[in-house]
Amino acid sequence: MSNSSSDVIVVGAGVVGAACAYYAARAGLAVTVVDRGPVAGGTTGAGEGNLLVSDKEPGPELELALLSTRLWSDLADELPARIEYEAKGGLVVASDASGLAALRKLAAAQAGAGVTAEEVPADRLRDLEPHLAPGLGGGFRYPQDAQVQPALAAAHLLRASGARVRTGEEVTAVLTGANGRVRGVRTAAGELRAPFVVNAAGTWGGEVARLAGGHLPVLPRRGFVLVTEPLPRVVRHKVYAADYVADVASGSAALQTSAVVEGTPAGPVLIGASRERVGFDRALSAEVLRRLAAQATALFPVLAGVRVLRTYAGFRPYLPDHLPAIGPDPRVPGLLHACGHEGAGIGLAPATGLAVARQMTGGQPPLDLGPFSPGRFAPAD
């Protein structure tokens, strides 16, 4: 095969792979991105496009989200408007006074980490969102929250990277040399050679790690999203119920649903978010859809008179401690992981890509990557 050598091979043409390719290329590396499916055809395409800081407790993931928020803002200047970047802000709504008190506590803790949040008293909620149901307990507005159209964002980020993109080509082996160091990958089309391989395979990141002789316990958490008929702007912010914060952090296998409602530039309103651990089962769950619709119409009664045109489902890649794996594999030199971002991968992609690029080029890490070290899952042996 001609021209099959590069400095880094990124496995996965989703938003995280695109971000790794983008920042690696900017650091001067020649990048090849390979994916068994199309661009954004796996984890990314099933996402909602949340760029949230509001739902994260202070800690490493929030640090990663804050850096990503700044990077997304820069990327939005550089990428075409078609990625539908909207710095619309989030609005977290509590159903009653005790819910609001919990939000107040969270916002106070987040403030120390650099998150801006403004309390919105109950009687002011409808100034911000005129269609909100009456009788809610109040909320918090988070101006740093934003949104993109995930598939378009991934595709344009990938295009902007200038990387060679090989879609429809499954990686069947990670090649290592006699010293154990990565020297490329094998695909159905042949061998691609590079001294670095980045595992950005999203929910399937565990499989890619296994191919390389590494270990990463990435598991799928299924989520559904409802898509309404096209509407004018009826929801201004990314609006979600306070329960969402608890659901995100939960380790439970059981079905959890909490309304996340947002308008899109294309017109449809998107309604999420559900989480359940059912393996890679794609079967439509009427119960999940019913609960999502009921919770969304409880927040926005106007939606009861609006048709849902379709739904989509996908798998959020989660790791047991709900933090992504970013950085070198402890056992396979040259293999770096960039996966396991659960439901926050669109938001966390740029900081992940920047961190991975810096690690490959020996640059200063943009934040403390210790908590994301893939080595934390290494079997004791």
Partner: protein
């Protein structure tokens, strides 16, 4: 002389009734879809596209293409080719998504 489908099958429909299109009176026969009644009255377009405001009416006529969406009695996005006309129905041209009233 022009022959209509009703002539071809020697239909003997019940008496016609009236509906309105953008306030104008249109005669419909029992069993006719809204789209059929509008076509019979020479009306070919009853929606404008969301982007560009181009005219749209019945295209496939069998409920598949969603081009014939109309606002029927105040409810937007009804497929005119499938909705049976009923006496007194008020059909109005749907501007784009037909939900402008919800905008904030």
């Amino acid at each position: 002389m022009a022959r209509t489908p009703a002539d071809l099958v020697r239909a003997d429909p019940d008496p016609p009734f009236e509906i309105t299109f953008d306030g104008r009176t249109v005669t419909a026969l029992p069993g006719q879809s809204v789209a059929a009644a509008l076509w019979a009255a020479g009306i070919l377009a009853w929606r404008t596209t969301r982007h560009g405001g181009r005219p749209r009416g019945a295209f496939c006529g069998i409920g598949q293409c969603y081009d014939c969406l109309a606002t029927v009695n105040g409810e937007p996005n009804r497929r005119a080719c499938l909705v049976p006309a009923r006496p007194g129905d008020a059909i109005t041209t749907q501007e784009g998504h037909g939900r402008a009233g919800l905008a904030v």
